[in-house]
C-alpha cells in the first residue's frame, strides 16, 4: 500500500503525509527506486510487473493516459502474456527519472501519433511473458519439479501431474531473484483471452465521483499558485511591468518575470494570482511580427502554390505531361486553418526547486521530454530532477513535444526556492499560446482521359511544417516527411492507396511565425480533406459514382478498399437516402490503420447543416480492446467535426484573436451525429486508433454537403460557408 516508502525524498514524503499517494492519483513504483526487488515486501518480478503477497498485480505503464485508454489496453497486453487474473490488476507509472536511472527499462515514454500500443506491443508483451516464465519457474523450483510440468492460468500455477497449486503472490519474491529469460515466445492474437476483449477501462470510477486528480487539482503542503501572461504576440517580449501596483492585493506574494517574454503573479490561491495579474500593468515589446495577419499569411501560402521549388513526397510517371495532354483537366485550391488543441484542462505544472534538486508534477504526454525541459530550465542535470506524471485532462498532442509550461513553472519556482508553486494557465493563456494545427493550402490538378479515367494528379501543398517548428534537426534537404501523411507511396505509416499512373505530390514549405504543433490527427487531417474532396470532384467531372470511381483506383490496395466497401455497404451507399438527406464518402490510411467514413447530412433551405450519422470503419490490424476503439472512433469525430465545423484561429497584429470558447466554438452534444463504428481487424499488423478516423470526418461530410447542395466547400472551417442552395 505504501507506494512511496522507497523514495526517500522530501517532496514525496510531504505529498504522502498530506493526502496519501492513492488519493493523489500518483502512484510511485515502490520497487523502482531500488532497481531490483530483493527482499522487498512487494516484489518487482521485472520492470513491467509487480506482484504482491495478496496476489494483487501492478502493471507498469510507460505511456500516458489522457483519455485514450492506453492504461487499460497496455495492461491487457501484459496481463495476457502474464496469464494474470485480470480482476487483480491495477496500473502505475514509472517516473521518467527512474527510466533514465535504469537505462530506459521502459523504453520510449512518448505518447502521441497513436503509437502507444502499436510501438510497444512487443516489449510489453515480452515483459508479461518473462514475468510469467519466472513465476512458473519459481514455483517449479519450490516443488522440485520440472518447469515443463507446470502451467500458469489466472494468476495460479498448477503442477499438472500432482495437481498441486500455488499463486503468483506466493512465489513472486522467489521469482524476482531468478535470471530473466531471454526468449519469450508470444501468444498468437487469435488465442487471446484478456487482450482483444472489450474490457471496461480500469480508470472509470474515479472519473464519475470527482476523485480523479488532474494536474490542475494537485495540492502540495505550503504550495503557492501562479498565474502567467506571456506576450500575446509570438516573438514579442516584456518591455516593463509595474509590480508595485499589485503588491498589496490580497494573497499576492511575488511578481516575477519569466524568461524574456512572460510575467507571473505568485499568490496564496490561483484566483488571487489571476486577479492581480489582470490588474498588473504590463508593457510589451511586440517584436518583429506585430504586423502579421491571417491575410498576410494567406498571401505567403498562396505564392507557395505556384513556387518552382518544392520537396517531393510522392512521384510516379510524369504528372505534368499527363495534365498537359488530358482530355479534361480539373483544378481546385483548398485551405486549412490554424486550430488550437483546446484540451479541457489548461496547461499546468507544479514545480519545487532548490539549488540541489528540481521536481515537477505535471500532466504530460512525454515524461522524458518534460524531464529534459525541467532540467534545462532548472539549470540542473536530469539526474537531479524528477517529473511525476499526473493524469491528463486531455492531450491531443499539446502536451507532448513541447513543454513550454514546464519551463515556465520551473523558472517561476526558481524564484521561490524551496516552495512548491503550481502554475495554471487561464483558458485565455491556453488559447493565445497554443502549438497550433499547421496552416496549409493545397492546389490539386487532375487529368481525365476521354473515358473519364484519372491519368494524372498533381498536388501542391503550401504551408507550415510542424517538424521545422519543433524538430528542425529532422528536416533533410528542406523536406518534412510528416507533411505527406497518408500521401506516401508506401510504408506502414500512411500509404496513398490510389493507383494513378502519373502523380506528383510536393510541398512548398512556408512557415509563418505562429508556432505549430502535433494536433490529434496531425497532417492526415488536411491531407484527407484535400485528397478525398478532390476525388469527389474528379468523380463528378468524370460523370462517375464517387464510390465506383474510388474502387477502380484502389484495385491494388485491398485494405483501403475493404474499409471503403464496408462503410459504403453499412452506410447505405447506392440506396435512396431518407428524405432530404445526402451521403458522402472518404477513405485514407494513417497512423498504421486503414479507415473510411460515410456521412449522412441534410442542409435546410436556410443553409443549416445537420450531420445525422457517420458510419466509420477501421482496420487496425490487431484490436486490443474493441469497445475502447469504438470510443476512440466516436471521440475522433467530435474532434474532427469540431475542427471541420468551427475550428479556426485567426491572426491579427501578430497574435491569435480567439481567447476562449465563445470565439473558438467547439462541437457540443446537439451537433453530434450518431456514429456507427465498424471494427474490421485483419490481423498481421498493429495500427493506431486514436487519430486515423478524425481525418475522414471532414471530407465525408464535405462530400455529403456537395451531394446535398451542389456546393463545394474548399476552405475550412465550414462556419464561413454559405450552404443555401444556389
Amino acid at each position: 500500500m505504501n507506494q512511496i516508502a522507497s523514495l526517500n525524498r522530501r517532496g514525496f514524503l510531504q505529498v504522502s503525509a498530506a493526502l496519501g499517494a492513492f488519493t493523489l492519483g500518483i502512484r510511485v513504483p515502490e520497487a523502482v527506486a531500488q532497481g531490483a526487488a530483493q527482499g522487498a515486501a512487494s516484489p518487482e518480478v521485472n520492470a513491467w510487473v509487480v506482484v504482491k503477497p495478496d496476489d494483487s498485480i501492478i502493471i507498469r505503464i510507460a505511456r500516458s493516459e489522457m483519455g485514450q485508454g492506453t492504461l487499460t489496453g497496455l495492461a491487457q497486453l501484459v496481463a495476457e502474456e502474464l496469464n494474470a487474473d485480470w480482476s487483480k490488476v491495477s496500473t502505475e507509472y514509472p517516473t521518467p527519472g527512474q527510466n533514465l536511472a535504469r537505462n530506459r527499462a521502459w523504453g520510449n515514454m512518448s505518447t502521441g501519433g497513436s503509437r502507444g500500443i502499436r510501438e510497444s506491443h512487443d516489449v510489453v508483451r515480452k515483459g508479461g511473458a518473462a514475468a510469467r516464465m519466472m513465476l512458473v519457474e519459481a514455483a517449479a523450483r519450490g516443488w522440485g519439479v520440472p518447469v515443463s510440468e507446470c502451467r500458469a492460468a489466472n494468476s495460479t500455477i498448477t503442477h499438472q501431474p500432482s495437481g498441486r497449486t500455488t499463486t503468483y503472490g506466493k512465489v513472486a519474491e522467489a521469482a524476482a531473484r531468478l535470471t530473466p529469460p531471454t526468449d519469450m515466445p508470444l501468444r498468437d492474437p487469435k488465442d487471446w483471452t484478456i487482450a482483444g476483449k472489450p474490457l471496461p477501462r480500469l480508470d472509470t470510477v474515479d472519473k464519475t465521483n470527482g476523485k480523479q486528480i488532474y494536474g490542475a487539482d494537485l495540492t502540495l503542503p505550503g504550495m503557492l499558485n501562479a498565474a502567467i501572461r506571456d506576450c500575446p504576440v509570438f516573438g514579442g517580449k516584456v518591455a516593463s511591468f509595474d509590480a508595485a501596483k499589485v503588491a498589496g492585493m490580497p494573497g499576492v506574494k511575488k511578481v516575477v518575470q519569466v524568461g524574456e517574454t512572460a510575467v507571473a503573479v505568485i499568490a496564496d490561491t490561483w484566483w488571487r494570482a489571476k486577479t492581480a495579474l489582470d490588474a498588473l500593468p504590463i508593457t510589451w515589446d511586440n517584436g518583429p511580427n506585430a504586423q502579421v495577419s491571417s491575410a498576410s499569411i494567406a498571401e505567403v501560402l498562396k505564392a507557395g502554390l505556384e513556387a518552382p521549388e518544392a520537396a517531393i513526397g510522392n512521384r510516379a510517371g510524369d504528372a505534368r505531361a499527363a495534365i498537359a495532354s488530358a482530355a479534361k483537366r480539373v483544378e481546385a485550391v483548398y485551405g486549412y486553418p490554424f486550430q488550437n488543441h483546446a484540451t479541457m484542462e489548461p496547461m499546468n505544472a507544479t514545480a519545487l526547486w532548490t539549488p540541489e534538486r528540481c521536481e515537477v508534477w505535471t500532466p504530460t504526454q512525454n515524461g522524458e521530454a518534460a524531464l529534459a525541459a525541467a532540467s534545462e530550465a532548472a539549470g540542473l542535470p536530469p539526474a537531479k530532477c524528477e517529473v511525476y506524471k499526473i493524469h491528463l485532462g486531455g492531450g491531443f498532442g499539446r502536451r507532448g513535444a513541447v513543454h513550454d509550461w514546464v519551463r515556465q513553472a520551473v523558472e517561476i519556482a526558481k524564484q521561490m526556492p524551496g516552495t512548491p508553486v503550481k502554475l495554471l494557465w487561464s483558458r485565455e493563456e491556453d488559447m493565445l499560446h497554443g502549438r497550433y494545427h499547421p496552416i496549409t493550402q493545397c492546389k490539386l490538378t487532375g487529368a481525365l482521359d476521354a473515358a473519364g479515367n484519372l491519368t494524372g494528379l498533381a498536388m501542391r501543398i503550401s504551408g507550415q511544417s510542424i517538424v521545422a517548428g519543433i524538430f528542425p534537426q529532422n528536416i533533410r534537404d528542406g523536406r518534412d516527411p510528416v507533411v505527406f501523411q497518408g500521401l506516401s507511396p508506401g510504408g506502414e505509416e500512411g500509404a496513398f492507396g490510389y493507383a494513378i499512373p502519373n502523380i506528383l505530390i510536393d510541398h512548398a514549405m512556408r512557415n509563418p511565425h505562429v508556432p505549430p504543433g502535433f494536433w490529434r490527427g496531425v497532417n492526415l487531417n488536411q491531407n484527407a480533406v484535400y485528397v478525398e474532396c478532390f476525388m469527389d470532384e474528379l468523380a463528378h467531372a468524370a460523370g462517375r459514382d464517387p464510390l465506383e470511381f474510388r474502387r477502380a483506383l484502389l484495385k491494388n490496395s485491398p485494405k483501403h478498399l475493404a474499409v471503403l466497401n464496408a462503410v459504403a455497404e453499412r452506410g447505405g451507399w447506392g440506396q435512396p437516402a431518407p428524405e432530404g438527406r445526402a451521403r458522402g464518402l472518404a477513405q485514407i490510411m494513417g497512423f498504421g490503420s486503414y479507415v473510411a467514413a460515410c456521412a449522412e447530412v441534410s442542409v435546410s433551405p436556410a443553409g443549416e447543416l445537420t450531420i445525422h450519422k457517420i458510419t466509420a470503419a477501421t482496420d487496425p490490424g490487431h484490436a486490443v480492446n474493441p469497445q475502447q476503439i469504438a470510443a476512440q472512433v466516436e471521440g475522433s469525430f467530435v474532434y474532427g467535426l469540431s475542427a471541420a465545423l468551427h475550428g479556426e484561429c485567426t491572426v491579427a497584429e501578430g497574435r491569435i484573436e480567439q481567447e476562449n470558447f465563445d470565439t473558438y466554438p467547439v462541437m457540443r452534444m446537439a451537433e453530434m451525429p450518431a456514429v456507427e463504428a465498424i471494427l474490421m481487424p485483419s490481423g498481421g499488423f498493429w495500427g493506431g486508433v486514436g487519430e486515423p478516423t478524425i481525418a475522414v470526418a471532414a471530407p465525408a461530410v464535405l462530400n455529403a454537403i456537395f451531394a446535398a447542395t451542389g456546393k463545394r466547400v474548399r476552405q475550412l472551417p465550414l462556419k464561413h460557408a454559405d450552404l443555401r442552395r444556389a
Binding site: M66, G67, Q68, G69, P200, R201, D203, T204, V205, D206, K207, T208, N209, G210, Q212, I213, Y214, A216, D217, T219, N225, P250, T269, W270, W271, R272, T275, A342, T343, M344, E345, P346, H391, L392, G393, G394, G395, F396, L424, R427, Q627, Q628, A631, E634, G635, S636, F637, V638, Y639, S642, N660, F661, D662, V666, M667, R668, M669, A670, M672, V675
Partner: protein, 154 residues
C-alpha cells in the same frame, strides 16, 4: 468572507466577495472534483447544483449566495458514487480523459431531477457542456439508461 452550505455542511470561507464559487470550492473548501475549463460559463466543467439547479460556478460570485442555498458538488451527489447516473456512467464506460465529466454528470443530474424521462432531444438541448474527447454519444446513452433505471422514482 462568505458563509456557504456545501454538500450539507455550512462553511465560512475567507475570500473576496467577487471570488467565483468555483474557486472557493476548489481552493478554500478543497473539493477539486469541480473543474476549471473556461471561466466564462461556456464549457460547463464547473457545473454544480445551487438549490437543485445546474449552475456554472466559475461565473457565480460567492456574494450572490448565502448559507440558505444548498450547493451540491460532484462529491456530494451521492455518498458512495451510487447515483443512477454514476452507475450508468460506469456501466457504459463513458469517460475518456474525464476532466469534463463531473460537470456533465451534475448537468445531467439536474436535468433528470426536473425531467425524469427526457427525450433524446431534451438531452441534446439541455446538456450544453463541452467535452473535447468526444463522449457525447455515451453521455446521452448513460442519461437514458439512468432515466430508464429510475422509473420508480420518476
Amino acid at each position: 468572507m462568505a458563509r456557504l452550505n456545501i454538500n450539507g455542511r455550512v462553511v465560512d470561507i475567507a475570500v473576496e466577495d467577487d471570488t467565483p464559487l468555483l474557486w472557493a470550492i476548489r481552493e478554500q473548501v478543497g473539493l477539486t472534483g469541480t473543474k476549471y475549463g473556461c471561466g466564462v460559463a461556456q464549457c460547463g466543467a464547473c457545473t454544480v447544483h445551487v438549490d437543485g439547479v445546474a449552475t456554472r460556478s466559475c461565473s457565480t460570485p460567492v456574494s450572490a449566495l448565502d448559507e440558505n442555498q444548498k450547493i451540491v458538488t460532484i462529491e456530494g451527489l451521492s455518498p458512495d458514487g451510487s447515483h443512477p447516473l454514476q452507475r450508468a456512467w460506469v456501466a457504459l464506460d463513458v469517460p475518456q480523459c474525464g476532466y469534463c465529466q463531473s460537470g456533465m454528470i451534475m448537468a445531467a443530474a439536474a436535468l433528470l431531477a426536473a425531467n425524469p424521462k427526457p427525450s433524446d432531444a431534451d438531452i441534446r438541448g439541455e446538456i450544453t457542456n463541452i467535452c473535447r474527447c468526444g463522449t457525447y454519444n455515451r453521455v446521452q446513452a448513460a442519461i437514458k439508461q439512468a432515466a430508464g433505471g429510475n422509473q420508480a422514482n420518476g
